[in-house]
Symmetry: C2
Subunit: 258 residues, 2 copies
């Protein structure tokens, strides 16, 4: 259902917190941001900021309290396992000034997942959540994530995070979905810049981004047009293609996101 430009819809915002020293040390390449960015956009939620922070109590507590007030939704990944460096749950409890409690359903899930007697003290830590939190499903290894207020706390392992997000995303309340079109050409970005700026000025309800690329002997630019109103998006894309052709370029339309 395309929105008209006349009724600006509410923009619903999100912040993602990637909690983990392994991203900051460069040992692991993050995969969660790109997945969540797309998933949130599909739900009509704009990812406005990402922070990658270390496994440090003061940093986690302070950051959670800052961003949960600044954005409609906060999604965290990482730090909810059984080992000493998994401190996210206790930090979230501290941020919300509530106790960490043993959640009966989480305890039951863990005891059903492991062989009898295998839920030792370390594993039972994964059944503790901030008081008032609601469990989030983990179809892979059972130890659940949780939600408290507008903060969704998920595992850092991409497969688990993705499975959890797939289940929770149905309950997110987003606004209008941002659609996009992209057009590439082998013109220099500087050749296109003036016309592109004029196009952006005429379509100030859309967001036009210009991304140069350099490959071996080849270079060019991909222009991405994003917005919520399909007719305006298509009109701007046609004007963009005409602009490129008029400057001697060969516009190639790329993948669209609808």
């Amino acid at each position: 259902m395309p929105s008209s430009a006349a009724e600006p819809p509410k923009s619903v915002t999100a912040c993602v917190l990637i909690i983990g020293n392994e991203i900051l040390s460069g040992r692991v390449q993050d995969e969660n941001v790109a997945f969540l960015a797309k998933g949130l956009n599909d739900a009509g939620i704009r990812l406005k900021e990402v922070r990658v922070i270390p496994d440090d109590t003061d940093t986690i507590v302070g950051t959670v309290n800052e961003v949960r007030r600044a954005f409609d939704y906060v999604f965290t990944t990482g730090g909810i396992g059984p080992t000493h460096d998994d401190i996210t749950a206790q930090c979230i409890a501290e941020a919300f000034a509530v106790k960490l409690i043993l959640h009966p359903e989480a305890k039951r899930l863990l005891e059903g997942h492991y062989p009898p007697g295998a839920v030792n003290e370390a594993r039972m830590r994964m059944a503790y959540v901030p008081d008032g939190a609601v469990l989030l499903p983990n179809p892979i290894s059972r130890a659940p994530g949780f939600r408290i207020g507008n903060v969704y706390v998920m595992a850092g392992v991409p497969q688990i995070m993705q499975a959890t997000f797939a289940e929770l995303s149905h309950n997110l309340k987003g606004g209008a979905k941002v659609l996009s079109r992209s057009v590439s050409c082998s013109l220099g970005e500087g050749v296109l810049a003036r016309g592109l700026g004029e196009l952006q000025a005429r379509y100030d309800d859309l967001e036009i981004g210009s991304y140069p690329y350099f490959r071996r002997a080849d270079f060019g630019v991909t222009v991405v047009v994003r917005g919520i109103g399909r007719p305006r998006l298509l009109a701007a894309t046609e004007e963009l293609k005409a602009l490129i052709a008029g400057l001697g370029g060969d516009p190639q339309e790329g993948a669209s996101e609808d």
Copy 2:
């Protein structure tokens, strides 16, 4: 030159700002964080936080002013090209409360790079830097990055950012480099957790992280030990291998970072 545990060296910190809607929309997978994380560690600088923020003036100005006071070094990528959405230079000038000025050397570099007459108004924008900034080299497309105070401003295109960083990194003043060892095994993380916590308690000068992995029918954990004192690092790694073996696991030592 290994540091001894007796003289705790100064820890030099950094924050990376990834400026760009394309990462937040999920269209582009960031590559710059992992590269900078490794490059900074090699220079003895600890990457303590990453923020991904949109091409929005208030957000960029506010974030730059927050993080340049909180960290020893700030590195930004993105938003210094010729198009309307390239607003990083003017935002940095605003953050430092200085004017944006035409830098004579940057102008000369651009005019030498493009054919006569091709440096149009849009391209000349790339020669404007905050008053007082020092240029950073761009061996690929010439349009320079710049440094002002403790803030290093680089292009978002990975090849250009990497070439710029390679040249500037010689001048960074880091502390002791963090070394690391990793050991993997097919034990469950929960089996290892108690002993790992005790190991961390005995080696509180090191940072021990536990990272579970799940692959098809296979799962296990990689434990990473990080610290600046090589003898302690090696001793903890040996204890870790013994811990794993004692629990019936098969410790596999992974790549080290020295």
